[in-house]
Amino acid sequence: MIKTPFRTIWNAVLGISLELVLVYIFIFAGLAICFIWWTVFK
């Protein structure tokens, strides 16, 4: 897995950041759906 330390660490940091972005896309999409349901059907 390890070729050069800098490249490895950079890839890991970028990977973690993108995983967090994905998670927040899930959260915003979920909350948005709840708000839409509330607005339309309440």
Binding site: M1, T8, N11, A12, L14, G15, I16, L18, E19, L20, L22, V23, Y24, F26, I27, A29, G30, L31, I33, C34, F35, W37, W38, T39, F41, K42
Partner: protein
């Protein structure tokens, strides 16, 4: 023809069980140190006794059954299945000695709930449990989420072909790295990185929310372990509701989602293949499944007109849906509110999410989105075959790390696991109904136990029937190991009596 196992077969199983038991004894030293640090002398004495007993049992197994032979599939699967039972019994010892459990069965239930990352609890007066015991509950959960075999592979077992079979027996079928020991270590690396990030973020949120710093850090580490391993234990009896902290809820949702991602996906993303995040069949299926089950749940909650504002409605509904879907079991409402306020439709939405679960080779339980994705693709393939000309050839592919042609063997194994889970859900539901609970209550609690979730509608309590406690223990065990290892163990028991010599 099934052959009767030889004495050497039992020795191999006993030897590896001994190694795993020693690993658990070593792990007990962490709460022992915590007991000393917090001046909990009763806790320290209980852990010292438990460590001595566990190491003695493990060492005896290793000496009596000493062998240099490697594990065949039958041994590896039996070790994987039996190690969870042995781990449950020895890990329950300090919990029972704490005086917070009504019986050894209750303490064993708690230990299995922890190892299986379920999160259903039978603790009495949890809010006054000493820190060392409380930490042990969460550490059990963390070890269970990582995998008991993974722990043994990391420290005590050589990375042989047999070790890989044992790893597979623990419902981890992905070889992330070329060597299984390296795979186990990578699983630890990912978890440790997120341990630092997650516990740090939760500590800051806790202090910001008014918790004393030491309490905030202790609770954060415990909650991280339960969230990352999609377990669901919490240091307080009211789960996450205790904190009344919106930031805490957002961070725990993030950790639950991260914990439900496949370790193989973490590996490829961390090593540069970032496109995998939006192409992977598991991520796509998980997203669609969350949208569908969330819509059902939201409809049910709206129908009952439980919440006065859009924010409490959205946060409560979404939180419990994610908690259920990722198999965590954190809650921000009281258990009986599911029955008394949310109603049958909303409970059905959460139950469906719990039954589906997260990714394979993650810390979640249940059927898993990968298998749901495969079965959906297979269904689509069959329909397309009917629509295209008979002479045309149609190849269905799925994308998981790489493009894979959807062969019958993938569909078959996915269907077998799906059917096994459905049977397990039904088994627990019938047991619950025989104990006098309604269908929706019994179904909810059964799926929660078998899918290793931990959300409760109020059935799970120290006063529930002992028979139901045993049923839920079996469900948690079989559900966590995804049946194959359990079936092989039963097969071996049958072969002991009925196999050919």
């Amino acid at each position: 023809m099934i052959l009767r196992p030889h004495l050497d077969d039992y020795k191999i199983i006993g030897f590896y069980l001994g190694k795993i038991t020693i690993s658990i004894g070593i792990a007990m030293m962490i709460p022992f140190i915590i007991a000393l640090a917090y001046s909990e002398w009763q806790g320290a004495a209980d852990f010292l006794l438990s460590i001595s007993f566990t190491l003695l049992v493990g060492t005896l197994f290793s000496i009596i059954c000493y062998t240099r032979k490697d594990l065949a599939t039958m041994h590896a699967m039996s070790v994987a299945a039996l190690s969870w039972i042995v781990a449950m019994f020895v890990s329950a010892l300090p919990l029972y000695l704490s005086g917070h459990y009504g019986s050894y069965l209750d303490a064993s239930f708690e230990a299995m709930s922890g190892y299986a990352t379920t999160g259903l609890s039978l603790a009495i007066d949890l809010d006054h449990m000493a820190s060392s015991y409380n930490f042990w509950r969460h550490l059990i959960m963390f070890m269970g989420g990582q995998g008991i075999v993974v722990i043994a592979l990391t420290f005590l077992v050589r990375g042989t072909a047999g070790a890989f079979r044992m790893y597979v027996g623990e419902a981890r079928d992905e070889k992330i790295m070329p060597n299984v020991v390296e795979t186990a270590r990578f699983i630890w690396l990912v978890s440790m990185v997120y341990l630092v990030l997650g516990s740090g973020a939760l500590s800051i949120a806790g202090i910001w929310g008014g918790l004393p710093p030491l309490k905030a850090i202790f609770d954060s580490v415990c909650i991280f372990m339960a969230a990352w391993d999609t377990g669901g234990f919490a240091p307080q009896s009211q789960s996450i509701l205790f904190y009344h902290n919106f930031l805490f809820e957002i961070i725990t949702i993030s950790l639950m989602l991260l914990g439900s991602i496949n370790f193989a996906l973490h590996y490829v993303v961390w090593t540069g293949n970032r496109r995998e995040l939006y192409r992977n069949i598991e991520i796509v299926t998980l997203f669609i499944s969350i949208i569908v089950t969330l819509s059902i749940t939201a409809w049910g909650v709206l129908e009952k007109n439980v919440y006065a504002g859009s924010l409490p409605f959205s946060s409560k509904t979404f939180y419990h849906l994610i908690s259920g879907h990722t198999g965590t079991g954190f809650s921000t409402i009281y258990p009986r509110q599911f029955i008394n306020e949310w109603g049958a439709l909303a409970m059905f939405g959460v139950t469906l999410a719990m039954a589906i679960g997260g990714s394979v080779c993650s810390t979640t339980g249940a059927i898993k989105v990968f298998r749901i994705g495969i079965i959906y693709k297979a269904l689509r393939q069959e329909i397309k075959k009917m629509l295209i000309p008979e002479t045309a050839i149609f190849v269905q592919k799925i994308h998981h790390i790489k493009d894979i042609v959807l062969e019958d063997k993938y569909v078959r194994i996915s269907a077998i696991i799906l059917i096994s889970y459905v049977n397990l859900y039904i088994f627990g539901t019938v047991a619950g109904m025989l104990c006098g609970y309604s269908l929706s209550e019994a179904l909810f609690e059964s799926v929660s136990a078998a899918a290793n979730v931990g959300l409760s509608c109020g059935i799970t309590s120290p006063t529930m029937p002992s028979a139901l406690k045993i049923v839920y223990i079996l469900q948690m065990w079989a559900g966590r190991l995804e049946f194959i290892a359990v079936m092989v163990l039963f097969g071996m028991v049958i072969a002991t009596f009925r196999g050919k010599r």
